[in-house]
């Protein structure tokens, strides 16, 4: 610079320039220092924050395993359904909300409620974001179980719906409706308590979990495992999905969900349907059919029932009330979850106990004079049988014969054998059940004020008094009688399978063999004798079930007519229904074919009246369906559980009879 050319008064400024430069360098140095802190020292932290700004995890729903019957028919499957979500912190309540409410067909009340909740979450999230810019804002379910039609509308109007998303959530569906309710159980939404109790990550709000039956017992196999996928969201909450966008995702990009395992039941749903048809004339009861030689359950039917589909999306208060107020107790599985007086169906076991204890022989005679007095109590018989041997006492179901057997044998001797046959204990079926009761002298001492009376043994001998059994227990005991003494645990689940990808569910993970609980050692002459007697019940002209026998079926069995504890007015039951609730329970326990027993059927008609007239015909119809229709139709099919069987087997007329 040419100082000579400057006017001298510029000199006032001259000392300032170096200082100014110094200030500039110093302040720019501060900026560079801050850049070093942000870009070099803090790079990892900031790069992480930058990633978490845009990369978000979205949960991938898993699919719940299917429940199939033994032939592959789906009893519990899935149907399409979607949940609609909103990100309240980024949601436009003025523009988007009216549209969304319209598309979802929200009523004014629902709309008001949901809006209140959304605004609350929005306020909370924005407050949290103020405190911590890294706070993750939430999304909120606006509507669950939305159908394909609504989602179609949402998809076409996507542009107008920022901060709205929808996720496919398959919903449980039970095609067989109320037919399978008691065995399958149902699922419904996880509660807060469930979420708190479950290990983290296993279930999420909105998940549905098994509440009863197989759905509950096999929950851990059926549920599957959630997965996740990383997605790119911009600052406005919109999802970005182009190839360039996805390049920002770091590995691993997703964890695929593990689908739940399929459960194959031993049930044959066609046989259950047959039971339902056979029960058409009765109000309440249950039916058990199982394989004599394996203990595998072929059918469990309990009436009345409910449609489990109603439970999945939550019952309305009205529906719940109707179910709970029904005096016939539709929620109770009458084959397992309640125990009843077995009545005369217990007589074969009383007889076997007496024979084994040598208190009688197969030839012992007692006399029936219609009334039998023991102590001060008068016991009655249904008929007047005169002097009777054991065979006829079974065939005619003479109570007085068995009172005397009970008197001469003693309650504990009888109870010991009953317990060997599995009465009074849970069977181990895996779903909810009650143990029933086989009273002993000790039990009476405990429960009847310390005084045991010998008369109790008389009632126990004919399956009254305090003896209570479940139909499944009875069926297993008759199976053990029919197969020579093998008491099985009832098997409901045949196998666990990995879900089929291409419709071929051939990935058997676990195949459950029959479970023998114990072998009951009884002299063959006794069991042979007893089976003949049971054959007589159906096939002797004087047998209690003779009139119900079916041509072409060689059935043996025992009827039962169990008196119930009488109730009077004021017990809470509608007085007009008292006659019904005081009526006897009707039982029939039978198996076929007699020569080589393969299936046991126990029919229990609650308050059905006489067993021969009311319960036996139902059992016969079911046996008929089994031997004449179902079994021939299945004959051509492989027995292995792994192979997917064709569903429409009924049309298979070429199958050998």
């Amino acid at each position: 610079m040419n100082l000579l050319s400057q006017r001298p008064d510029v000199g006032e400024f001259r000392k300032r320039y170096p200082w100014m430069m110094l200030v500039v360098v110093a302040l720019m140095g501060v900026l560079v220092g801050q850049l070093v802190i942000l870009q070099i020292v803090g790079h990892n932290q900031n790069a992480g924050d930058a990633r978490s700004n845009i990369i978000h995890r979205t949960g991938l729903a898993t699919s719940r395993g299917l429940i199939r019957d033994r032939n592959g028919v789906v009893l519990a499957g899935s149907r399409e359904s979607w949940n609609v979500y909103v990100v309240p912190a980024r949601f436009d309540f003025d523009k988007t909300w009216p549209k969304l409410a319209e598309f979802l067909a929200l009523g004014p009340v629902d709309k008001g409620k949901i809006e209140l909740r959304l605004r609350q979450v929005r306020a909370d999230d924005l407050a949290a974001l103020r405190k911590d810019p890294r706070f993750r804002i939430r999304d909120v379910v606006v509507r669950e179980d939305v159908g394909r039609d609504v989602v179609g509308v949402l998809e076409t109007r996507q542009e107008e719906l920022p901060a709205v998303s929808w996720v496919s959530v398959p919903m449980r569906y039970y095609p067989s409706k109320e037919l399978g309710f008691h065995v399958l159980g149902y699922v419904n939404e996880a509660t807060k308590e469930d979420l708190a109790a479950a290990p983290s990550g296993t279930i999420q709000a909105g998940d549905r979990i098994g509440r009863s039956g197989v759905e509950k017992a096999w929950e851990s196999y059926l549920r599957g495992q959630r997965g996740w996928r990383k997605i790119i969201l911009d600052a406005r909450g919109n999802r970005r999905t182009t190839k360039e966008d996805l390049e920002h995702l770091d590995e691993p990009r997703e964890q695929p969900p593990v689908p739940g395992r399929d459960v194959r039941l031993t049930i044959d749903i066609d046989l259950v349907a047959a039971a339902k048809r056979a029960f058409a004339g009765q109000l309440s009861g249950g039916l058990v059919a199982l394989e004599v030689k394996t203990g595998r359950i072929l059918a469990l039917y309990s009436k009345p029932s409910v449609d489990p589909n109603e439970f999945v999306s939550g019952l309305t208060p009205k529906q719940a009330e109707a179910i709970l107020d029904n005096p016939l107790r539709p929620l109770i599985d009458k084959t397992l979850f309640d125990a009843f007086f077995p009545g005369s169906t217990m007589k074969p076991f009383t007889a076997l106990a007496a024979l084994r204890a040598h208190s009688i022989t197969t030839q012992t005679l007692y006399t029936c004079e219609h009334v039998f007095t023991y102590g001060k109590t008068r016991f009655k018989c249904e008929g007047l049988h005169g002097t009777t041997n054991l065979h006829d006492a079974i065939v005619h179901s003479c109570n007085i014969y068995f009172y005397q057997v009970g008197r001469d044998t003693g309650i504990d001797t009888m109870a010991a054998l009953d317990q060997e046959f599995g009465f009074g204990q849970r069977t181990g079926i895996g779903i909810q059940e009650v143990p029933g009761l086989v009273p002993t002298q000790a039990w009476y001492t405990q429960h009847y004020g310390g005084s045991y009376r010998k008369g109790f043994a008389l009632n126990a001998a004919i399956g009254q008094g305090n003896t209570k059994v479940t139909p499944v227990q009875l069926a297993l005991a008759y199976a053990a009688l029919a197969n020579g003494g093998d008491l099985y645990a009832p098997e409901l689940v045949r196998s666990i399978e990995t879900p089929s990808v291409d419709g071929q569910g051939d990935g058997v993970e676990m195949d459950f063999p029959p479970r023998l609980r114990r072998h009951i050692a009884l002299p063959t002459e006794y069991t042979r004798f007893m089976l003949d007697a049971l054959h007589g019940v159906v096939n002797d002209e004087t047998g209690t079930a003779f009139r119900e026998r079916v041509a072409g079926l060689d059935v043996a069995g025992k009827t039962g007519t169990a008196q119930v504890s009488k109730i009077g007015p004021g017990s809470g039951v509608d007085p007009h229904s008292l006659w019904y609730f005081n009526r006897d329970h009707a039982w029939f326990a039978g198996f076929a074919p007699f020569n080589d027993p393969e299936i046991v059927v126990v029919t229990f008609v609650e308050h059905g009246g006489g067993g021969g007239k009311n319960a036996a015909p139902i059992a016969m119809r079911v046996l008929q369906e089994y031997f004449l229709k179902i079994k021939p139709a299945r004959a051509g099919m492989p027995a292995s559980p792994g192979k997917q069987a064709p569903v429409a087997t009924k049309k298979d007329k070429g199958a050998p009879r």
């Binding site: 050319s5 500039v24 720019m28 870009q39 790079h43 700004n53």
Partner: protein, 382 residues
């Protein structure tokens, strides 16, 4: 030979090439960065970089014109220009349009087709000219052994000159421009020798004034931003969220950056006003520390070069004008980068030649024209 002829021929020879090169370089990088910043598919702003080029050309023409007129004409007309500027600021209150709750613009030629014009931008240059004029006309030569210097009484004039536009701008309200006006005022006055007793008194007055301003002049949103800087925990989603994401974007760049057009935070809309207030984070994320350092160095060079031009100016007006223009550029750059890096609170200040905006770009370029003017005429004897 008339002085005018001599000036013209000599001035062409004396074109300040380093100034021209560094300004062109910043403008070029600015346009390139603007393309990236607005490339996010947001309809309406995607071709802002083209408009920016138009503005740069228009500003360049204006700068050439400003540079070619001897700055002493500006000195003569300084107070007329000042009066005109104040009038325009007053017009804003009558005609101004609201943008983000602040009236800063005057529409010319209709709302959509015409352009909007921001008088407060030009006021920055006008203030530099006016203060330079004042110092030019009021040479207090060092007197006595203590060196003499200005008393508070001598500061009343320039304070009024700066105070009127400052008050008008702060009322708009436009805190950013107010700060820049203050920066220009302080920087120019720093040239003058002021008695240290007077300085002490000044501090004694400034502190109560600040308190007064806080309670009566600042708007709530301005206070909030200030508070959010002092205590980030109290912030709303607004200022602090933006500042946070700006720092994240810069830091995400690392040493070498994500690469041009590959910055994620801009691309996914985490940088608000990315074309005006936040172009630096866009640049820093894509070009990393290396790019950001280069840019800071370019600004530092430009500013130091400006001070050097002032030092070599042939008269007091030229020196003070050069410092005023240089101060404008410096405080713009420092406030903008300081705010996005988190050194300073978030105030709406643009990055010179980097931010989009017609008034901003033309103002800066006119300032550069004045700098060039002073630089070219440093050796002219007249």
């Amino acid at each position: 030979m008339s002085p005018h002829v001599g000036l013209r021929s000599r001035a062409r020879d004396n074109i300040d090439w380093p100034l021209l090169v560094v300004v062109s370089l910043i403008a070029l990088i600015g346009v390139v960065n603007l393309y990236s910043a607005t490339s996010v598919a947001r309809a309406g702003i995607a071709d802002l970089y083209v408009t920016q080029i138009y503005w740069l050309v228009a500003g360049g023409v204006a700068a050439t014109f400003v540079a070619s007129v001897d700055y002493r004409h500006f000195e003569r007309l300084a107070y007329f220009i000042y009066g005109g500027g104040i009038l325009l600021l007053l017009l804003v209150f009558i005609l101004g349009r609201d943008i983000h709750g602040a009236a800063r613009w005057i529409d010319i030629g209709g709302k959509d087709r015409g352009f909007r014009f921001q008088p407060s931008e030009f006021m920055k240059i006008i203030l530099a000219i006016s203060l330079a004029k004042y110092l030019h006309d009021d040479p207090k030569l060092p007197v006595g052994p203590g060196g003499g210097g200005r008393t508070l009484k001598d500061l009343i004039g320039p304070t009024i000159i700066a105070g009127i536009p400052f008050t008008l701008v702060a009322k708009q309200p436009d805190l950013g421009t107010g700060l820049i006006l203050l920066g220009i005022f302080v920087s120019i006055m720093a040239l003058a020798k002021i008695r240290w007793q007077s300085l002490l008194t000044l501090v004694g007055v400034a502190v109560p004034t600040g308190v007064f301003a806080w309670f009566y002049l600042l708007h709530d949103y301005q206070k909030r931003r200030f508070i959010s800087f002092i205590n980030p925990d109290l912030d709303i989603r607004g200022a602090n969220w933006h500042a946070h994401n700006a720092r994240v974007a810069i830091g995400d760049g690392g040493l070498f950056g994500a690469g041009y057009l590959k910055g994620t935070q801009n691309h996914y809309l985490f940088l608000p006003e990315q074309q005006t207030d936040f172009p630096f984070p866009v640049f820093a994320e894509e070009w990393g520390f290396v790019g950001a350092l280069l840019l800071v160095c370019l600004y530092a060079f430009l500013v130091i070069w400006g001070i050097r031009i002032a030092a070599s100016a042939r008269d007091r007006f030229g020196a003070a004008l050069a410092i005023g223009v240089t101060a404008m550029i410096f405080w713009h750059a420092f406030f903008n980068i300081g705010m996005v890096t988190g050194v300073l609170p978030v105030v709406g200040v643009t990055l010179p030649l980097f931010s989009y905006g017609g008034s901003s770009v033309t103002t800066i370029l006119i300032g550069i024209g004045l700098l060039m003017n002073v630089s070219m005429r440093r050796n002219v004897v007249g």
